[in-house]
């Protein structure tokens, strides 16, 4: 055992550091202490190292407690200062599971997480809305004459561009010569503000409107699609931004 200790003390610096440091604090098991003592009796190098460690520790112990720069008492009255924004939210090694300290940090992460989810949900909603307008039954805005090809799903870039173009042209299409100014007004209403859109009964077709049902549903679908795209883009941006911020802080 002693021989083994001798060898390890010289071959492994970590082992030597561990043993000498623990010996300094009287933290070695009796058998380990005995083996170390036996070694120290014959090894000047290790004895010297232990002695130097002892002096080093004495030096550290004699470092005086610094004078307080000020008092840290909390104000007895009034609002306490708001918690400072924590610097980092991720788990560093030493903060494995402290309850108290993580409080402010946790709040920031939670906010970011919520923001991220809002972004994701908005994006999904937007996507659903966008795709919904592409379904058969809702007329495609691009083709005033309902062409089958334009209804087929295209790659998103194309359809985005297309719907943006359509957004511009759809309004122009509205004033069709066959319609009376009053019915145009109604359709325009329905198109621009769904919330207070003209009641369905008004939209409900007079024979002429039925024939020309394209424009109103076009503008509605257009608007829904635009909202969908806006939601999609906004949501993605929001989600990415909150993700980025979470990384940075």
């Amino acid at each position: 055992m002693t021989e083994n200790t001798d060898r390890r003390l010289h071959e492994s610096p970590e082992y030597r550091q561990d043993q000498l440091s623990a010996a300094l604090d009287g933290m070695l098991a009796p058998s380990e202490q005995a083996a170390l003592d036996a070694h120290l009796a014959t090894c000047e190098v290790c004895s010297r190292e232990l002695e130097e460690l002892r002096q080093m520790r004495a030096l550290l112990r004699s470092v005086p407690e610094p004078a307080l720069p000020r008092s840290f008492l909390l104000p007895l009255e009034g609002e306490l200062p708001a918690p400072r924004q924590p610097v980092h939210a991720t788990e560093g090694q030493p903060r494995t599971n402290v309850t108290p300290l993580r409080h402010p940090t946790r709040r920031a992460t939670r906010t970011l997480r919520v923001t991220r989810w809002i972004g994701v949900i908005a994006a999904v909603l937007g996507m659903a809305l966008f795709l919904g307008t592409l379904l058969p039954g809702v007329e495609h805005p691009g083709g005033a004459a309902s062409s089958v090809t334009s209804r087929a799903p295209q790659n998103s870039l194309d359809s985005t561009r297309q719907s943006q173009g359509a957004a511009g042209s759809a309004t122009e299409m509205l004033p069709s010569p066959t319609r009376s100014p009053s019915s145009y007004d109604q359709h325009a209403n329905a198109g621009t503000a769904t919330a207070n859109a003209a009641p369905p009964t008004q939209l409900a077709p007079s024979p002429t409107a039925a024939n020309n049902s394209q424009p109103p549903s076009d503008s509605l679908a257009d608007m829904l699609r635009n909202i969908g795209i806006a939601l999609l883009i906004g949501g993605v941006v929001l989600a990415l931004a909150s993700l980025l911020i979470a990384r940075l802080i």
Partner: protein
């Protein structure tokens, strides 16, 4: 604190905590009064900068007050100092990677000729030297602080708590929330490195006779 006073002191502390948990700031301030020196000292030794240390200390007491209802532990001091050390780690993160100069490289350079550091001059060991009895010079404290800042943060925390603040291993382990074995080895690493750094900067020999302190080349 006398051994006899310990029980009542602990009871007093428990009462203060309980009152603090109910929003009694005066009671909490009694705890601040008791521990602010230790809290600030830890922050200062960890960070090396008085202003930041004061900020971290203040912030730690505010966090502690806010989170006091979550405290059910046995040692308020350990809990508080853990909050302080977490505050220090937040500062490290904010600063980006702590610029730890490669100690390994630095030591390697000088120890290139010997595998161990056994070449340290014998003259540096002076049994009659008793640092406990002397007041440290400012330069010595600065040198110690500089050496501490070269250690990896976990080692620094371990050795500051153990050797500068004089805490037993188990309390260090409680503050660091690390197994005792890990604490032991961090302290051992830290001491080994500090011994070399302080020998190098002359602090471990500077208290001797001048001629003894002459460093062999």
């Amino acid at each position: 604190m006398s051994v006899d006073g310990r029980g009542t002191e602990q009871e007093r502390e428990r009462t203060l905590i309980a009152r603090g948990q109910q929003g009694d700031r005066a009671a909490f301030n009694a705890l601040v009064e008791k521990y602010q020196s230790a809290a600030y000292a830890l922050a200062l030794r960890m960070l090396g900068d008085p202003d930041t240390a004061a900020d971290v200390t203040q912030e730690a007491f505010l966090s502690a007050y806010r989170a006091l209802s979550a405290f059910h532990g046995a040692s308020f001091r350990a809990w508080l100092l853990r909050i302080v050390s977490n505050g220090c780690y937040d500062v490290f993160r904010a600063r980006g990677r702590q610029p730890v100069t490669s100690l390994e490289a630095m030591l390697e350079h000088d120890d290139a000729t010997s595998s161990s550091d056994s070449r340290l001059p014998t003259t540096m060991v002076d049994p009659s030297w008793n640092p406990e009895e002397m007041t440290l010079r400012t330069e010595t404290i600065d040198a110690i602080q500089t050496a501490l800042l070269r250690l990896p943060p976990e080692q620094r925390l371990a050795v500051v708590l153990c050797d500068i603040q004089g805490m037993p291993y188990d309390e260090v382990a409680r503050i660091m929330e690390t197994p005792l074995g890990t604490v032991k080895s961090r302290i051992a690493r830290a001491r080994a490195q500090l011994r070399l750094l302080l020998t190098r900067s002359g602090e471990l020999s500077s208290h001797e006779q001048r001629q003894d302190a002459e460093r062999p080349t």
